[in-house]
């Protein structure tokens, strides 16, 4: 596909979206300010830093982890995250010898309140087609070379349950505050498509 073709295709859809917005606004079904507020929410307020705080709390506070295991929706709401596309949350924990990976083979189900809107790869056919049949290959493509004996559990989000992976806490961060620990938690690690960063990796990135 040439750049030119790509560009004209984008313009066509942009025009179509604009026309639809004009129509729905004229009809009084939607309001421009509402759309702005929705966009701003997902650009600045609801994203993977929310989930990172949940993971950091789970790493730091054994009582919180217990509550997260018992009722993840309620435990996550304690930190102020709830609602659309996270109405029914389940937390799944990685451990030595066990790795969890979340997918939605049927559409793009993803825990919005804790991770925000999904990245393009999560919604696209290459990931959705392969995650259930070849999770080890997918993880290798993400740079995760798991031991051959590690059990891999794929969670296909086929209903309204949304899954948050609690990655393993990396060594070398003993005594860190929750805020510091949250810096180690990446979006991909909460999908199961990555590990949490090590303190050394974090330092190198900063």
């Amino acid at each position: 596909m040439s750049d030119e073709h790509d560009h004209s295709e984008m313009s066509e859809i942009a025009a179509r979206v604009r026309a639809l917005e004009t129509l729905l606004t004229e009809k009084g079904y939607i309001e421009e300010a509402t759309l702005d507020a929705l966009v701003e929410t997902y650009e600045t307020k609801i994203g993977p830093r929310n989930g990172a705080r949940v993971v950091a709390r789970a790493w730091s506070d054994p009582d919180y982890l217990k509550r997260l295991r018992k009722d993840a929706t309620a435990a996550i709401a304690e930190l102020g995250y709830s609602g659309r596309q996270g109405e029914h949350m389940v937390a799944v924990e990685n451990a030595p010898g066990r790795h969890n990976l979340v997918v939605c083979t049927l559409c793009s189900c993803y825990p919005w309140p804790v991770l925000g809107l999904p990245p393009v790869w999560y919604k696209s056919p290459p990931y959705r087609s392969r995650a259930a049949i070849d999770p080890r290959g997918v993880l290798k493509e993400f740079g995760l070379d798991l031991p051959a004996t590690t059990e891999i559990r794929v969670w296909d989000s086929t209903a309204e349950i949304r899954y948050l992976v609690i990655p393993e806490r990396p060594p070398g961060a003993e005594g860190w505050s929750e805020e510091e620990l949250a810096e180690l938690v990446t979006r991909d690690s909460m999908i199961g498509a990555g590990f949490a960063r090590s303190p050394a990796t974090l330092e190198a990135a900063q």
Partner: protein, 219 residues
């Protein structure tokens, strides 16, 4: 329906294209597409299951060629038509030619935070006791409905074990087809890799689906 959305186990799509430091949106129109979908949904004339059904009933070649927000826009157009909120000519012109249909709510900017934080929980009171309990062996049904279902093709006719009962939820197969909420028990069912993909499959792999009771038989 056995549409292009049911991707589990398909092959040949190539590598997973990850984007470092990916922005939340890749174009202005994507922002409007997302927000418009949520705001139009808030009007209350369709369910989330109807919107999934609208997207996945696109012809497979179209579904697979479009970006995700393009699919959403095509789905939204279909929902607007089906609900009588807009006509084909209005959508083509981008102009209102007739009075609006009455809708349940028009989402205001000031209500966005509260509406998102509240969400739309799908759990419902149990109409009857659960048929299965954790540890039970079940076989998923072989079904091929021409309408919306959330039982993926790769997981039909397979033996699995109930891992957890998740309560009673709105049943998408009914909700998508305008047959009301028809709440059903929902279970997480663990299926071994070998059961799904054959003897050659990696023995360390298991996949779970969240399956509604009507998808399951005792085994």
């Amino acid at each position: 329906m056995n549409g292009a959305q049911d991707l589990g186990g398909m092959m040949g799509f190539g590598p997973i294209a990850r984007e470092p430091n990916e922005p939340v949106f890749h174009a202005e129109w994507e922002k409007r597409a997302l927000a418009m979908t949520l705001a139009a949904g808030a009007c209350g004339l369709w369910t989330i299951d109807m919107s999934r059904s609208a997207r996945e009933s696109l012809p497979p070649a179209e579904y697979l060629a479009k970006s995700y927000y393009e699919i959403w826009m095509r789905g939204l157009e279909k929902l607007l038509l089906a609900s009588g909120m807009a006509s084909e000519i209005e959508i083509a012109l981008g102009r209102a030619l007739s009075p609006p249909r009455q809708v349940k709510t028009v989402l205001k900017a000031g209500d966005v935070a509260v509406a998102l934080a509240r969400g739309a929980p799908y759990a419902r009171p149990a109409p009857k006791p659960a048929r299965f309990a954790a540890g039970d062996t079940v076989r998923t049904k072989v079904i091929n409905p021409t309408t919306h279902t959330r039982l993926p093709r790769y997981a039909r006719g397979k033996l699995g074990v109930i891992e957890a009962a998740r309560g009673v939820h709105v049943f998408p197969d009914s909700s998508a087809s305008g047959r009301g909420e028809d709440p059903q028990w929902l279970y997480t069912v663990r299926l071994a890799g070998k059961e799904l993909w054959g003897e050659d499959a990696d023995p360390t792999i298991a996949v779970s689906i969240d399956a509604f009771e009507p998808y399951l038989d005792p085994a």
